[in-house]
Structure formats: structure tokens, C-alpha cells
Symmetry: C3
Subunit: 127 residues, 3 copies
Amino acid sequence: MRYVDIVTALAVLQYLVFGFKVGSARERYGVRAPAVTGHEIFERRFRVQQNTLEQLIAFLPGLYLFGRYWHPVWGAAIGVVYLVGRELYSAAYVRDPAKRGPGFGLSFLAVAVLVVGGLCGAVLTFF
Amino acid sequence: MRYVDIVTALAVLQYLVFGFKVGSARERYGVRAPAVTGHEIFERRFRVQQNTLEQLIAFLPGLYLFGRYWHPVWGAAIGVVYLVGRELYSAAYVRDPAKRGPGFGLSFLAVAVLVVGGLCGAVLTFF
Amino acid sequence: MRYVDIVTALAVLQYLVFGFKVGSARERYGVRAPAVTGHEIFERRFRVQQNTLEQLIAFLPGLYLFGRYWHPVWGAAIGVVYLVGRELYSAAYVRDPAKRGPGFGLSFLAVAVLVVGGLCGAVLTFF
């Protein structure tokens, strides 16, 4: 499972970097805590991090289940697709929120394959 | 642990469906990213997803710990209570946020039993 | 891994307590769902919970990976640093958001050590 574990750590690190950029934007654009609105670029950075959090909570269990019931290397490979999708999503969202679709879709597709695949794999063990 | 794994995957899928409904509401009611306010129904859908995310991060470790230190089938059964509570919560919240209590309470009770039970189970291994 | 599991359960419980305080503040200050703004103290409590959620999703996988590839007791000890940092963060944020730095820094440092350490540990198994 070390391939799965490495992708797990990379996905968490990617997410922490997105969070770091939110903090930088908070400083640069003078958005004082606890506010989370007030400057367009800050809000975009914040939404990138929040959306990645929303995906990560589904991605990590999916990655683990897929790795367990199918194959860790396949799971890790699909996990790399997720990582690439998230990078595209982040870059596109900050430039123009209307262009966030492809990156979101790619990472979401990876999450869906991992979760649904993991569920099917677990159910198939009964047969 | 495959019962635990199946409930894990179902809880993640339920959460992804809630997220899908947020995206649909965003389109239907014309709430443009990065805004997360602007239409009451969108905001309700968004809060359902956010609150489910907030619960899921506690539910999944609790489910795993309970399954490990007590019994996977019992853990999975309590997990089904969580799933039902979340469905009630989502349906009630979208109709009337003031009615969200029972569904929230049911799923929160399941989470509390899993986490506290898991903690007790792990501590008891020392005795 | 029972040390890791106990710290996992404690971190989840701490987070649930933060969430409970958000609910109390919602009642006390009359912030009606689905709104998440409207009273300064409510917003601070809400941001404490949200920020802890954001950290927890990185902390839990990091704790597990560090415990797996280095040592569970060391991982759990770093996890206790995280718990202390979060308590400091919560107490400081509610009094004055501008003072939230040290508590945030301490818990973030623990998360970073666990995640980067876990990644290094997993990569080192190839050599």
C-alpha cells in the first residue's frame, strides 16, 4: 500500500499548499479574520481550498478502498489523475472561475471511480 | 472489515450526491462562483453539504475505530443509522431549516457513539 | 497503533466540541440557519471549527502515515502537540482573532511534520 500512502501524502500536501495560498491572499488583500469575503482573488483562493477539502474527504477513503479491493498501484495511478485535475482546477479558478470546469471534472471523475470502484470491490467479496 | 468499508463508501457517495445537488442549485438559481450566498435554496443545499462534510470527518474515523475495537458489523449497523439521519436532515433542511433537528440529532448520536465507543475500546486494550 | 488511534479519537472529539460551541453560539446570538454570519462571536466560533476541520483532514492521514512508517508512539506524541495547539488557537481566536497565530502555528507545525515525515517514510521504503 505504499503507493497509495505516497499519493495520500501528496494529496494532503497539495491541499496544504492551497491553504497556504489562502493565508497569503488574506494578508496581501487585507481580508481580516474571521471574514472570508471582501476581495475577489481572496475569495477564489478560499473557494479552491474549500472545494479541495470537499473533494479530499471523498478522495482519501476512495483511494484506500480501491487500493484494498482492486490494486494499490491502479488506485495510486487514478490518484495521480486527481492530483493533476486539482492543479488545473486551482490554476483555472484563480484566473477565471467560469473556466474551472475541466479541472474539476477530471479530479471528480477520479474520485468517483475510486469510491464507486471501492464499493463494488467490497460488495464483490460476498460472491 | 468489509461491512465497515461498504458503509464508508456509502457515506462518501451520499455526501457526493449532496454536493451534486449544490452544483445543480448553483446553476438553477444563478449563483455564480465564487459566491456561496444569494439564493435561499442554494444556501440550504450548500449548508447540507457543508454540515455533512463536518460530520463525515468525524464519522469515518469513528466508524473505523469502533469496527476495530468492538465489532465491524455493529459499527456498520450504527453507520446505517448515520446514513438514515443524514437523509432525514437533508430532506428537512431544504424544506425548512428550522426542522433540521431530528435528522441532525440522529446522525450526530451515531457519530458520538462511534467516536466515544472507539476511544473507550482503544483505551480498554491497556487493561 | 492504539496510541495513534487514541489520539485520532481525541482529535475528533476536540473538533466535535468546537462544533458544539458553534451550535451554542448560533442559539445564543440568534444566528438563524442557513446564515453563517451576523454576530462576531458566532463567526469566530464558526471559523475555529472550520479551520480545525481544515487541519483535521490533513492531520489524520499524516498521523496514520507517520505512525506506520516511523513509530506509533512518536506519531501520537506529535499528535498531542497538535491537540494543545488547537486548544490555544481556539481560546485565542475567540478572545481576539489577531492573536490566533501561535496556536495555529503550533498545530500546523505538528501537521506538517506528520505529513512530510509520513511521505518521506513511505518513499524511503523503496531504498
